[in-house]
């Protein structure tokens, strides 16, 4: 990460001659090492990918789609979940859902987020049919779930809060089906935020609402956790 940041700064100063060769060295190193890869190789690969990102975005600002494709190809070539994460992030950025604008709850964030979530689900379905890399399915699922939940919450209105609760229920059901606790837990947090926002929007006595909703949420989480463990066995 430090090297990639340094590379970005060097690039900004128009001394970019070594950036692409350095990225190629990273990719080549990991490819050469792939039979005996270690933890460190994942991060060498990530470094190479981030150098490519820095180069592309500095020269051609906001060209996220080519970047998503490059990282996507890299993800499949190297069977790397980290590169897949970069690829989906770039795809989301191309769709207008970026980390720097994530809290800018403007009217068009939600449709962009929903559309991106839909694309990621389609990607997941396609991957499920064509590839045997099972790890990638979970990456797509987490991205799609969070994009849909955040998109619903960003509507910041009654229908948005209700939609957040509905999507959270779906994600929780998926977590139960997949026996994956993180889905259940973060969907639960989104649902609590949606429910609290909805209640606070309509009723006064904020303290009473937060007290009652927190107690109910604790009881609900205990029940959900118990049921999840029973299902998991």
């Amino acid at each position: 990460m430090l090297l990639a940041t340094a590379a970005g700064m060097v690039l900004k100063d128009d001394l970019s001659l070594l950036i692409i060769p350095a990225a190629i060295v990273c990719y080549a190193w990991v490819w050469w090492h792939r039979a005996r890869a270690t933890l460190a190789d994942d991060y060498v690969l990530l470094l190479g990918a981030m150098l490519v990102s820095a180069e592309v975005l500095m020269r051609w600002p906001r060209q996220f789609l080519p970047l998503a494709i490059v990282h996507g190809v890299g993800a499949y070539a190297y069977k790397s979940r980290l590169l897949l994460s970069l690829s989906i992030s770039a795809l989301a950025a191309w769709m207008g859902v970026e980390r720097r604008t994530a809290f800018d709850f403007s009217a068009d964030l939600a449709p962009r987020a929903f559309l991106t979530a839909g694309l990621v689900i389609a990607w997941r379905q396609l991957h499920d049919r064509l590839s045997n890399i099972r790890d990638f399915l979970r990456v797509c699922e987490h991205f799609a779930a969070n994009l849909a939940l955040w998109g619903a919450l960003s509507l910041a209105s009654d229908p948005g809060y209700l939609l957040t609760i509905a999507v959270a229920a779906l994600v929780m059901a998926w977590g139960f089906k997949q026996r994956s606790e993180p889905f259940v837990l973060y969907a639960f947090v989104y649902a609590v935020i949606g429910a609290d926002a909805l209640l606070l929007h309509h009723f006064e006595h904020e303290a009473a609402i937060i007290l009652i909703s927190s107690v109910i949420a604790i009881a609900a989480l205990i029940a959900i956790d118990k049921r999840f463990r029973e299902r998991r066995g």
């Binding site: 970005g8 060498v44 979940r81």
Partner: protein, 306 residues
């Protein structure tokens, strides 16, 4: 809860929750406590009594430990009592808060509360005598030494691990610029002690503590060196990469002691990995276009505010 043990406290089993569930429980309980505090007219005594009574009921009747709820109730309850004390602005108030965190930590066996108590005491030393860094590193070194023996209770070991890792970081926040060389020397010495302990005792916490010590020393040293920022970042990154490659090479095929095998740490490692990747993959912004005559000041080719 165990249905067979309904009504018989001694037969109940302690509910076990993962780290993320505990965090959610803790936050929800803190929210509920604050709301209750507001509802009762900011009465700290009443809030404290209710919180501690409820915490003890949950611990004794339902055997709730490490759920996050009873931890929040104990810590919040004691802090609610403290909120009723007259505010004098003296640094000794930090010691009162530290004592509350220590008592809560001891009751609910939460090592993070112990580290919080140590951190508050360190802050007191900083406010009172400007010895924050020294206290932090002395405390962390003591924790490393105490970790060299085997402790019967896992919570005691976790307490020393938390202190050894958190206190140096908290102390760094208090480091003054005028004492930079002393800070570098102290953190490097702490790193060396922890690294030696890591080699001898083969404990992951020592390794992490050493990394923290050396990292802080390196960051401060970099500030002293007359190099370009990109050069410093590149040197640091290359050093870390080379170290990680060397370590992973050394540990390859090992099955005992330190190993380089991937394993799940939190139950949500995938999610953490993606989040970390996204957080560092923020798209770079292109440099602002420079227009002739732009900037607020300067002349002869030099233009300010660029």
């Amino acid at each position: 809860m165990n249905a067979a043990g309904e009504g018989a406290p001694e037969a109940r089993t302690t509910p076990k929750y993962g780290v993320f569930a505990q965090v959610i429980f803790f936050v929800l309980t803190c929210g509920a406590m604050y709301a209750f505090y507001q509802l009762v007219g900011e009465n700290g005594i009443l809030t404290g009594v209710v919180a501690l009574a409820l915490a003890e009921y949950l611990i004794n009747r339902w055997r709730w430990l490490r759920t996050g709820v009873e931890s929040a109730l104990w810590l919040g309850g004691l802090f609610a009592f403290i909120s009723e004390l007259p505010s004098t602005g003296k640094p000794e108030a930090l010691l009162v808060l530290a004592a509350a965190a220590a008592i809560a930590g001891a009751r609910v066996q939460n090592p993070l509360f112990g580290a919080l108590a140590a951190g508050l005491t360190m802050h007191y030393f900083e406010r009172k005598w400007d010895f924050g860094v020294l206290f932090a590193l002395a405390g962390a070194t003591l924790a490393v030494v105490l970790l060299c023996r085997t402790w019967r209770r896992p919570s005691t070991e976790w307490l020393f691990i938390a202190i050894a890792l958190i206190l140096p970081l908290a102390g760094y926040a208090e480091a003054d610029r005028k004492w930079r060389m002393t800070t570098i020397a102290l953190y490097a010495a702490f790193g060396a002690i922890a690294f030696t302990a890591a080699i001898v005792k083969r404990h992951h916490a020592f390794f992490l503590a050493a990394a923290i010590g050396f990292a802080v020393a390196a960051i401060e040293l970099a500030r002293e060196l007359p190099l370009l920022l990109e050069a410093k970042l590149a040197i640091g990154g290359a050093f870390l990469l080379a170290t990680s490659l060397a370590v992973s090479r050394l540990l390859r095929n090992r099955t005992r002691g330190f190993v380089a095998t991937k394993e799940s740490l939190t139950g949500a490692d995938d999610l953490l990995e993606f989040a970390a990747t996204i957080s560092v993959a923020a798209p770079a912004q292109p440099p602002a276009a420079r227009e002739p005559g732009g900037g607020d000041f300067g002349g002869a080719g030099a233009s300010g505010t660029f």
